[in-house]
Amino acid sequence: MELIGAAGVKKSFGERQVLADCSISVKAGEVVLLLGPSGYGKSTFLEILAGIGQPDSGSVRVQGEASFLFQDDALIPWLTAAGNLSYVLPRGWSRKTRADGISRWLSLFSLDEDDKPPLMSGGMRRRLSLARTFILERPVLILDEPFAFLDRHWHSQVASLLNGEAEKGRCAILAGHSVNPELLEECGKRLRVLPLKESPLSIPADLGREADASAGDAERPRSLRKEGEDDGGSG
């Protein structure tokens, strides 16, 4: 089942075209990595998929609701870690469900509930931001550089969580600068890597669709790896 579908998405900021023609299809159980350098429009494309940005033309369909990991975390500085998670929880959740959810995700990401973002390291802020993305258990995860500021231990943890979400029938689309070995290892055949080579960003429909037999073959993205790309600095 397709959870994310986009066709012919174009976007310009003034005279500068950022997205030339982007199409993509992400199915339940898939983890898709948009792989490209900074400034290629990956974040703009992800924001459009999440519904927080508007395309100039083209169509976007997202089945169910999406959670979005902001590149800059977008945490509320005066709220505690628990407060930042509680902020996004739906009104319908009972007090116990809220408390359990917050406690579970803070614990999973080794965060103290009373810590506040300005006193956290970059890695802690990123983990809190990830916890906020996962806690709602939405079917679609859109993550802008989820591995930035994280060390290899957390690369594995996050990759494992993504694989777990995909196993539950959800999907994830991520943006990054390099192929992450932990992601390859954890997600295996679920992972599809889209190497982006053009700016303004262009994802032809045949590249954006899942390839048939070889789709998600873990060996294929491995071949994209270069020396030194697995040193924990990937985003």
């Binding site: 999406a66 959670s67 979005f68 977008a74 509320i76 709220l79 407060g83 902020y87 996004v88 009104r91």
Partner: protein
């Protein structure tokens, strides 16, 4: 730390003030420059009769009405200007004009239109403080993190929760910091307006003392206003600034 240490600076200031009065008395003579003891005695008489508190209270009350008016007009306009670029672009020149206008213009205008009375200090304070309220409210809204606004929309955060946990804590520090500045100038503007355009209030009392050459009364009212200013600073303005810093760090 000795118990005297916190009040020592005030005692030193009081002594310096007394020495300045004594020096002025020696230079100008006692008719034009009364000594500190005469001034304190007059101040005591004004306080005992209740006139001091009544007139100072009136000055402060008018200042507060003026600030309230400025908040109703400037606060609302500032919030809208912070939110909508069009409102900011179209109202900013008017507010800049208001800001560059000295209070004496407002005093003269209101006196021509309404005669002397409470309206002169109230309107003067409102006009003089509105630009500060406007710019602080606008800055507060513009300072809200746009990404957090987008995040709140994406996660469909209920409006009341968004207001209490994000919007208000984001705006209030700017607003309270601005309010503390406004309050510290409002009562002075009120007193000046009373001096020129009102028959009562502390400013008007200073005018009466000046016109009758009642130098002991003039010095006593001047001293009372200094004490009022220090009290407002200690009891209202400093706590407001602290609250602004606290909200900025901890939220509501």
């Amino acid at each position: 730390m000795t118990p005297l240490k916190p009040i020592l600076p005030y005692l030193v200031s009081l002594l310096l003030w007394g020495a300045a009065l004594e020096a002025a008395r020696l230079f100008f003579g006692p008719a034009l420059a009364p000594g500190p003891l005469e001034v304190l005695k007059t101040l005591g008489t004004l306080a005992y009769s209740g006139e001091l508190f009544r007139e100072l209270g009136l000055t402060v009350k008018r200042a507060l009405y003026g600030v309230l008016l400025a908040n109703l007009a400037g606060g609302v306009l500032g919030l809208l200007a912070g939110r909508f670029r069009l409102v900011l672009d179209h109202s900013a020149p008017l507010v800049a004009g208001l800001q560059s206008c000295p209070p004496v213009v407002w005093i003269a205008l209101v006196m021509v239109l309404s005669g002397t009375g409470s309206l002169v200090p109230v309107a003067t304070v409102a006009a003089a403080t509105l630009p500060f309220v406007f710019s602080n409210a606008a800055q507060g809204v513009m300072g809200l993190n746009r990404r957090i606004i987008l995040m709140s929309r994406l996660y469909k955060v209920p409006p009341l929760r968004r207001l209490l946990r994000f919007t208000l804590p984001g705006i209030l520090p700017f607003y309270l910091a601005g309010l503390s500045t406004v309050l510290s100038t409002a009562w002075k503007a009120s007193a000046v307006a009373e001096f020129m355009g009102s028959s009562d209030g502390a400013g008007a009392r200073i005018y009466w003392c000046y016109s009758r050459l009642d130098m002991e009364g003039l010095q006593a009212w001047a001293l009372s206003m200094i004490i009022l200013g220090l009290s407002l600073e200690a009891l209202l303005i400093t706590p407001l600034r602290k609250k602004a810093a606290e909200i900025s760090a901890r939220g509501l």
